[in-house]
Every structure is written in structure tokens, then in C-alpha cells.
Amino acid sequence: MPFACIYVSNFPVAAAVRAEPELQARPVAILEGKPPLEKIIAVNEKAGGFGITPGMTKAQGELCAELALRLRSPLQENSAHAALLDCAQSFSPCVEDSAPETVFLDLAGMESLLGSLPEISRAISNRAAALGLRAHVAIASNPDAALLAARGFCGAGLCGAGTPARVGVTIIPASKEAEQLGNLPVEVLFADRLEGDQKKEADRLLETLDRWGIRNLRSLAALPEVSLSERLGQEGLRLQQLARGAASRALVPVEVPLVFEEAVELEHPITLLEPLAFLLNRLLEQICARLGSRALATQELRLTLELETYSSSSSSSSKSNFVRTLRLPLPLLDAKVFLKLLQLDLNAHPPGAPIVKIHLAAEPARPRSAQGGLFLPPSPEPEKLELTLARVAGMVGEHKVGALELLDTHHPQGFRMRRFVAEVARRVPQKQNPDVAQAASAITALRRFRPPLRATVTLENGQPMRVACNKKEVRGEVLWKAGPWRFSGDWWEHEAWSRDEWDIALQNGETIALYRLVHDLLGGHWFVEGTYD
């Protein structure tokens, strides 16, 4: 029953590098603590090469000019941990969330689905790399052996800083755990971040083993059990079981929540949209990679910008949130499209103050499954269409582009605009009987004047005889008329309307044009509402 352990060494550094990929080529140190007492808690191998070690002060770290010092960010670590869980969940439904940097997977039965164990372990490592994390993957017959292998063969788990981390995969065949783990130093058993009494106890045990001359796991595994129990108690026996790779336990599976959030805190506030787009692109790529690893897409993106607002009266700054929500008609998974949509939205609705923190959340949705029919007419690609609609909306106005929806009313303006979606139920076009098509005649259409043209009407016996309005084409003697046709509605509400409609013909140059003339019975005004065309 194989188990896999995904282990990310120097997790705070890995989280920072995931948020800023350009740090990968630089020495990095992570600081923690309140100024001016910040101390370095984690460094990468390049920083170790410069002699930077955990425990140094910030001032000591600053002596190295090349060193990139970053404050520890719980937000980034949470995102990296969530990405690690997503990576694990994409391979097995049974995942144990052991520590921020360690995740276990139960791979029982996965070989028939995903290939051999080496293939699975490589795939896990590659998926973690795609999510921005350099992880070491170890597979063994029990979780603890997998953890020791992941920590031990990763390199960084042994002595922390400065040791070059060998990122890759380790596979320990069943019943060869003791042999494979034997060369690992005993420190690997105490690599957990222990605090307080537990740390003191671990230090005492290590000192004892050191005095006995026990340097590696093979030596510890070879000790007689009874004697070890007499001297170190149950803890000693537990450590020996671990060293033999014989400890067995059940995984405690967790249900990984479908929360896809990424955030970045900025050291210096940004005021321009261009650098913001750069950061948004990074966040969107991370979110899309995570969604992709879970075979999901998103239909709603929520961008929260924390703004630094200055009040002139108190000359102090305060924080406020600026939230933009991007709702999509279809689930999409394209970071470039999302970025362009967010850019267009932010261009139309700029934040208005310097940005100090960016938080982006995606609502997961099942990806749409669409297959174009060979004999169906083409339709716009949803991604392209969304961008086009956003661009057009930015030009003509948000509520001036979309599909029409008629309302259940007789009011002449009884319609509303709704979002245009090119994914209505596809149906095979019906072949119309040509005879029927020939027989059907076209419906006379009305072209509306928006807003209606205010008109001055000369009446004779209550009938319009002459019309004059601002538009020079729509004026003159009424040549023909039909009406009045009375309409009214909504009398039970404030927006009651009542009107008489006339169909009139006016001379329009050399031709005759037909118009709809309306007398608003409540307001008493005359309007030319449109032309029959």
C-alpha cells in the first residue's frame, strides 16, 4: 500500500519565491519579528552560500548586498500550502494535511489509473513545479518512511540552511525501508519544528544518541530493543521503529476546501494600473494553475484591493477596500482573458487611491463541456466574445450592449438589456417549407427615435393636421392618418401611462414617410415616437 509524501523544504522561502518567481535566481532570506528585532528564519541555498544562516539579525543580513530580504508573509504561505494541497488532491482523493510544507497521499490503486510509481512521483513533482513549488516527492510503504525519505533525501531537512536541496523523487521499495533509510542522520527524526518542552526533549535525546555514538538511522535501528526501552523509554522505541521504516499508521484524510485565493502584500503602494496588471497576471496564473490541477474553471473572479487613503484633515492614512467582481456567463480558465477583462474593468472603474494589498479569489465551477457540431452553424468563441463585449461596453457604456429581453408588459419601452451569451441551447436548424416561406410576408418594422421627438401638433376636429418638431424631416402637413389607438397601463402604480397613438404620413422630400405620433394623455405632450420603415 504505497504512500507518497510531498515535502517542500524551506517553506517560507518557497512561498516567497512562488509569489515572486524572479527571486529564484537570487539569494533570499525571510525575516520575522517586530522591527527593529527582526531575525532571519529561513534562507535559500544561494543565501547559504553567502554565509547567511537562520538566526542572524536583519542588520547582519543587509551586509550582503545581493541578499533579497523579505518579511514572512502568512498570506503567501497559506496560498502556497493551498497550492500544495491542490497538487496532492489532483492525484489522490485521500490526502493528509500534515504540516504547511508536508502533505501525504494514499496511492493505493492509483497505479492502474496513473501509471507506475516512478511515473506518478514524477508527475506529482512536475505538477508542484507548475504550481510554483519545488517539492521533493518520496514514495514508501508507510507514511513515516516516506516522510523521512522526503526530508532526508531532499537535503535541506538535515541541516537546514546552506545545504543544496536536491529536488526530485525517491521511491523506497517495500521491505527495503531500513536499508534505504539507514544512511540518513538521526537529526532527520527531529526535523519537525518543535517548540518549548518538546524541543528540549528532542535536544536531550539527540545529545544522548550522540554520546552513544549513534550517528545514523542504521545504528539506531540495530540497537537492542529492550536495552533501548530501559534507557529511553517508549519514545526511544518509537524512534527506532521510525529508523527501521517499520512504523505503521493510518492516514488522517482531510477534505480539501475548494477555495482558490491568492494575495500579495506590497511593500510600496502602487498607483498605476500597469504594474498592477503585472501583479494580477501573476496571481491569475497561479489561480488558473490551481484550478486546472483540480479540473475546474471559474465563473466569478473577485478582486479586492486594499487602498491607502489619506485624509487631509487628520493628515493620516487609513485603509479601505475596493472590490470589483467579474462575473462570466460561462466557466473559463484562461489567465490572459481574465487579465484583459480585469484591465478593461479597472480602466472603466479605477481604484482612485494607492494600492497596498491585492487579493484575488475565484469561485470554482465545472468547466463547460462543449463540442461543436459538424453541421451546426459557427458561434463566437466564449473567451473572445467576452473580451469583445468588455471592449465594446467600455466604449458605448455598460448597459448599452447585450441581448434583448422583452418584459411582460404592454409598455412601449417594455424591454431590458441582459448579458449576451453565445451558448443558448443548440438546435438543428429547421428546414422551412419553401411554400410557407414564400407565403409569409415581412412585418413592417418601427424605427424608434430615442428619446422621442417632442412635436407641436395642429389639431382640427381633434385630429392632427400639421406636425412640427426639431427634426427637419419630420414636419409638415399630415397627408394621411389613422387613429387614435388608445393604450394605457400600470395605472395601479406610480409609473402609470396613457396615450393615444396615431399613424401619420408626412411628405419627406420626394417621398412619403409614415410616422407614429403619440399624444401623452397624462402629460399632455405630443411626440413622434418613430418611423415605419
Binding site: T388, T444, M465, A482, T511, D533
Partner: protein
């Protein structure tokens, strides 16, 4: 003499070949130059050139129904991948034809778009005409006009201007901005692709404004839809796209209204219009101009 022949052949656009065996008449001093010229011409003769007679004939575009049988009889339908212009004065049936084409396209299962320069589309007419509204994208231009900057200098200049002139310039700015919106929206929709029919409704734009659309824009539109199944339909007062349109239809009404003031108006009913469509130009079917008539009926006639 040879130079004269060469220039003639160059004017004809064909490579001129010297007969190597016969050899041109060259002076002894020009022998090296003649040899270079010969070798160059031999090389150019090896370039495979396809005579015009063997060029592939551009396939005729697919024609689809316009929704009005009389128009289909006249033109054979609307050509895909081409620009069709429909022009005529008010009450000439342009919008009726537009809605009929939209109804036919949406019934075929296609998605359509209307770029409405003057926000004139009547949703109820569209629904009655049979347009499937959920397949129709309506872009209502003419709003969202840019705000003029109220700089003091501008204000002083404006005060000095004649009020009428100011109004005219504002109107021109508005129509220019509206036209710009229409063209940019059309560009974006054409670029997006996937639409079966895109309508540019410029019918209410004054002809002098509509003529401001550069011919290059129409060329661009024509190139954008070439080899695509999209039909680009322009509704105008007067033809403006020149040779870029594959089909040009002129519509007009046949209304012959008598002065009927003596007849009570409530006994009258607008039941429909008689329209006349004339095929002015068709690049697909070179036949003399001809026309058809067709009748439309109002929604309340049933």
C-alpha cells in the same frame, strides 16, 4: 532596338526572352553586358509563372435567404463573406428587410449582431418579425459621449462663438463620436468572429456624416469577412461603401396616398406597406438593374 523591345515587354509585364541560338544584335563593346543580361533573363524565365487563364476562379459565395422571398428572387439571397448595402429613404422598408434577414439568420441557428448607430431598434418589432432575441447582440451607440474639458480658454472662445455655430459643432462632434463608436464596435465584432450576420445600422445618420467613413474602412471590413461565413449588412440612406459592397439594393416605397382628410381617421388602418427593391449593383451576377416589389404587413393585421 533591343532596348525598345525590352521596355515594351516590361510594359506588358511579361519577361522578355532572347533566343540564345539567334543571339541579339550587340556591339562588340557591349558583349559582356549582353551576356549578363542574357543570363539574368534566363534565370527569370525559370521562375514558374501562372498565366492568368489558369488562375483559380474565386468560388461563388454561398447565398442565404434574406427572409423575404421577393428579395431572394431578385438577388439570389445574401452572400456570405461579403458586404451588402441596403439603402433608401425613411419608410422604404430597410428596417423591415434588416429584421427579416435577422429572423432568417437566427432561425438558421446563427448568432447575429446589430451595431445600431442611432439606437433605433424596436425590440417589439424584432420579436414580431421572428428574430430570436437571445441570439441577437445589440450594440446601442450614440451614448457615453466624451466630456468636453471646461478649460477657461475654451470657455472664452465658446462665448465668442455664435450660438448656432456652437450647436452645429456640438452636433458634428456627437455624430463623429457616434460614427467612431460604430466603426470600432464593428471592427471588434468582425475580429471576434463567429457571427452569422452583422448589421451596421446607419440609416438615421445624415448622408453627409455617413460619407465620412473612409473607403479604407470598408475595404478593411470586406477583407475581414472574406472567406468567413459572416454576412455584413449595411443599412444606409445612400450608398457609401463604393466598390467594396458585393450587393447594393435600393429600396423605395410605392405609397400613393390620396388626401383622405374627408375620411374619418378612425376608419383608417395602417395594414402594411408596398415596397420596391431595385438591384443597383451585384458583383456576383452581372445582369442589368432590375427591381421587384413586395408587401409588408403590420403586426396587428395578423
Amino acid at each position: 532596338m533591343s532596348s525598345a523591345v525590352v521596355s515594351t515587354s516590361a510594359a506588358l509585364g511579361r519577361p522578355f526572352l532572347f533566343d540564345a541560338e539567334a543571339g541579339p544584335e550587340v556591339c562588340p563593346g557591349e558583349s559582356a553586358l549582353a551576356r549578363v543580361r542574357q543570363s539574368t533573363l534566363k534565370k527569370s524565365a525559370q521562375i514558374p509563372l501562372t498565366p492568368a487563364s489558369r488562375l483559380e476562379i474565386r468560388p461563388a459565395p454561398e447565398m442565404v435567404s434574406s427572409g423575404i422571398s421577393a428579395i431572394d428572387t431578385l438577388t439570389g439571397g445574401l452572400p456570405r463573406g461579403c458586404l451588402t448595402e441596403i439603402c433608401g429613404p425613411a419608410s422604404s422598408g430597410r428596417t423591415t428587410l434588416m429584421l427579416a434577414a435577422l429572423a432568417a439568420a437566427t432561425h438558421r441557428g446563427e448568432f447575429c449582431a446589430v451595431v445600431d448607430a442611432s439606437d433605433a431598434l424596436d425590440p417589439h418589432s424584432a420579436a414580431v418579425a421572428g428574430v430570436e432575441l437571445n441570439r441577437l447582440l445589440w450594440v446601442r451607440c450614440g451614448e457615453n459621449l466624451p466630456q468636453k474639458k471646461n478649460s477657461p480658454q475654451r470657455h472664452r472662445v465658446t462665448e465668442k462663438q455664435n450660438q448656432k455655430e456652437g450647436m452645429r459643432s456640438l452636433g458634428t462632434d456627437r455624430s463623429e463620436h457616434r460614427l467612431e463608436q460604430v466603426l470600432r464596435a464593428t471592427d471588434l465584432l468582425l475580429e471576434s468572429g463567429g457571427f452569422g450576420l452583422i448589421v451596421l445600422d446607419l440609416a438615421d445618420l445624415p448622408p453627409q456624416d455617413a460619407r465620412r467613413v473612409p473607403l479604407t474602412t470598408w475595404f478593411r471590413f470586406r477583407r475581414a469577412i472574406e472567406h468567413t461565413p459572416t454576412i455584413l449588412l449595411a443599412i444606409e440612406h445612400q450608398p457609401i461603401a463604393g466598390s467594396c459592397s458585393s450587393l447594393l439594393l435600393q429600396l423605395g416605397s410605392q405609397a400613393e396616398l390620396e388626401s383622405v382628410h374627408k375620411i374619418p381617421s378612425h376608419t383608417q388602418l395602417l395594414t402594411g406597406l408596398d415596397m420596391r427593391a431595385e438591384l443597383i449593383r451585384s458583383r456576383l451576377d452581372r445582369k442589368p438593374a432590375r427591381s421587384v416589389t413586395f408587401a409588408t404587413k403590420t403586426a396587428w393585421v395578423g
